[in-house]
Subunit: 418 residues, 2 copies
């Protein structure tokens, strides 16, 4: 440790006091006790990984128990005809209205994000026959890159990567330089999983449309924390994950969006019975159902939709504007601590410093972060390490406190000082 | 009602007495209270639809609640590293050992049955390049037919249907007459969803192998009630559903089996991050993981695996031999009632009368069954109608009582007499 890396005890104490003040003034603070009691999360000093797995609401614990006993156990097969069959579209509509800027009839909850991405990317590509290219981001989330690589292989297409940087996001200029008359599909993330950079979805969508391509947005790292405007952007397709900021539990189902005007023309490749017109006639030959139903394949995962519905209650009550405001405040506060306590040790901020260009996590870089990961977890500071040498500070506005951010980052500073 | 359709009150009373005796002597009777209390299933006179949706165990209700509070809420992201990541293969191994006749390392729990079928059928077909045909059963379950139709379309293959009859099953002779040097994949159900006919899986697998084809078995209507012998049959691929006799809840995940010797050569098309070698390096380019992991695509649906684990506890305790014995006894008793009370009204038995050729449901046929469905449901007799004019009496050995079979079929007889 050098002298330059020393910060005055006064700075640390002031930051800690600020955390208490910010928590006391937090308009969403009253919703913290809507989530499972922190007494259960033994040994957790700071949970800074809500962008990987959100916390459960208290209502979820009670509702899944009641669902098993009263709905599944009590209604038995009748449940399908008394409502379950409508859950994928009803929950989809609600998600669309509360979080995604999507009018009713365009969102479905089903499958895993990977499978939904496969289905919708295949559907989009098939709608642009003759075009030979898929465009994505070399720094996009792995499953997106792998799924598109597989599709490109099987359809004999070229997968072209935008050469973004670790700390940047996809820019409009990069996309403009790559889309053209051969582009079938542009598939990108709204918020980058590592840097948290926000893509200019409206401008990129327009550009891609000017070239005659369709656009698929992956909202996994924005859904529930940064309002999307799918209809307003003119987005064609979107997918996303519900176990991060949407607090729906480990491996909860994905959502998929298909713009209303495209639905009749698009077909997805996994032709299951519940995506068929009149499924219960069980007749010969597959004919896709009307509307979003055709993007369903198998039997909807009902039990795992219960937590999503419970979390949406809290998200809707809070409102996306207040959630975004607290997300920005948490990130700004985190960066303030980094500048005061971690920068002296050589830590740099990978994420954009401009809040308008940043999602709800702050990624930091330091050559010692890999070796610090285990000691941090042992100290109860739960966050993700990402290659090459990054720590992601995930800030989930409904459940993360400013005090928690302070505790977590102070622990990082403490380890760097040893 | 004609005189011929009248049965003596004495016959009915004797059958009812037999139900009481059979229930009293049922070696699995002691396990009935391991399932959610029947007091919750308001208005149910007879649940004869456990082949569509099994009942929940009591343990399930408690375990999902505890899972949310203590595991998800308490361990948070740590849960993935403390066990969840292994659940798909661990539960798969257990399912393989208890129900499927599959040695460890060949079964995974993931996706919906439809998606798993798509993935494994695609993988199997890709392993037989140059062959142009897929063989299935014209009376197979709809999702199987639709998925294969979609695959045939996209891969430019011919989907050939075995012309089975409503009341028959797939015969070895039918398969022999259709498989040949062009057959890439034979995809069939072990137990037919409508007739309950059991296919001779070992003989059909041998035949297909003699022709150089791979075989995919859909075990949805046998898993948990009739032991499969995947390894002994020489099966290449299998899929199945866990919400029927495996009591894992509405829309619970599927399972997939890939014979160990094929795993290294087979690739499935939905290339997600969790099927990749070293997924957390998040590196460029997809390279499939070793073994069954490569058949996983997205994040495993953890919460919805909790009920499956709880149900397997009871199934394992009962043992598949005892379950099959009670299944046969229930079906025999049902047919006895049909012969005594329903046949006089013109009801015929579609399912095989030979227990060795029949799964765990009994399908009946009568021209008035469509109009009887609503009154039966209103009377609390829950069973499925299947085109053209069939009622399925689904008998789930761990939860169906002989008294329930009697009540349900007596209600059918009563309605036919009006």
């Amino acid at each position: 440790m050098t002298d330059a890396a020393t910060t005055s005890p006064g700075a640390g104490a002031a930051l800690e006091r600020r955390a208490r003040e910010l928590d006391a003034a937090d308009p969403l603070g009253g919703l913290l006790d809507r989530f499972v009691d922190r007494d259960h999360d033994e040994g957790v000093l700071a949970y800074l990984d809500g962008n990987s797995l959100g916390r459960p609401t208290r209502a979820t614990a009670a509702r899944v128990e009641r669902f098993v006993r009263e709905e599944w156990g009590g209604r038995l097969i009748r449940g399908w005809y008394e409502g379950w069959m409508d859950w994928p579209l009803e929950l989809g509509d609600r998600l669309g209205r509360v979080c995604l800027g999507a009018a009713a009839g365009q969102v479905v909850v089903a499958d895993s994000t990977t499978v939904m991405l496969y289905k919708l990317a295949r559907a989009g590509i098939a709608a642009r026959p003759g075009r030979r290219e898929i465009v994505t981001d070399v720094n996009d989330f792995p499953t997106d890159r792998y799924v598109l690589e597989g599709i490109a292989d099987e359809r004999g297409l070229d997968l072209r990567f935008l050469e973004t940087t670790l700390d940047g996001g996809v820019t409009v200029e990069q996309v403009a330089s790559m889309v053209g008359p051969q582009t079938a599909l542009v598939a990108l993330s709204h918020v980058n999983y590592r840097s948290a950079a926000i893509a200019d979805a409206a401008a990129i969508t327009r550009l891609a449309h000017d070239a005659g391509a369709l656009v698929l947005w992956d909202l996994s790292h924005s859904a529930g924390v940064l309002a999307a405007e799918l209809d307003a952007w003119g987005a064609d397709l979107a997918v996303g994950c519900t176990y991060k900021y949407l607090d729906a539990g480990p491996g909860s189902p994905a959502f998929g969006y298909v713009r209303a005007e495209h639905q009749a023309a698009l077909r997805q490749p996994v032709q299951g019975w519940l995506g068929r017109r009149d499924p219960f006639t069980m007749g010969p030959g597959y004919e896709p159902a009307e509307g979003m139903l055709r993007f369903i394949s198998g039997t909807p995962p009902i039990l795992s939709m219960v937590p999503l519905a419970a979390a949406l209650d809290v998200i809707e009550e809070a409102g996306m504007a207040a959630i975004r405001a607290k997300s920005v405040a948490l990130c700004e506060y985190a960066i303030e601590i980094v500048d005061a306590l971690l920068a002296p040790h050589g830590v740099t901020v990978v994420s954009p410093r401009d809040a308008a260009r940043r999602g709800s996590h702050v990624t930091l870089r330091h050559e010692r972060f890999r070796e610090l990961l285990d000691p941090l977890w042992e100290a109860g500071v739960l966050l993700d390490y990402r290659e090459p040498d990054c720590l992601r500070i995930g800030l989930s506005p409904l459940t993360t406190t400013f005090a928690e951010v302070h505790r977590g980052l102070a622990a990082v500073a403490g380890l760097l000082a040893t």
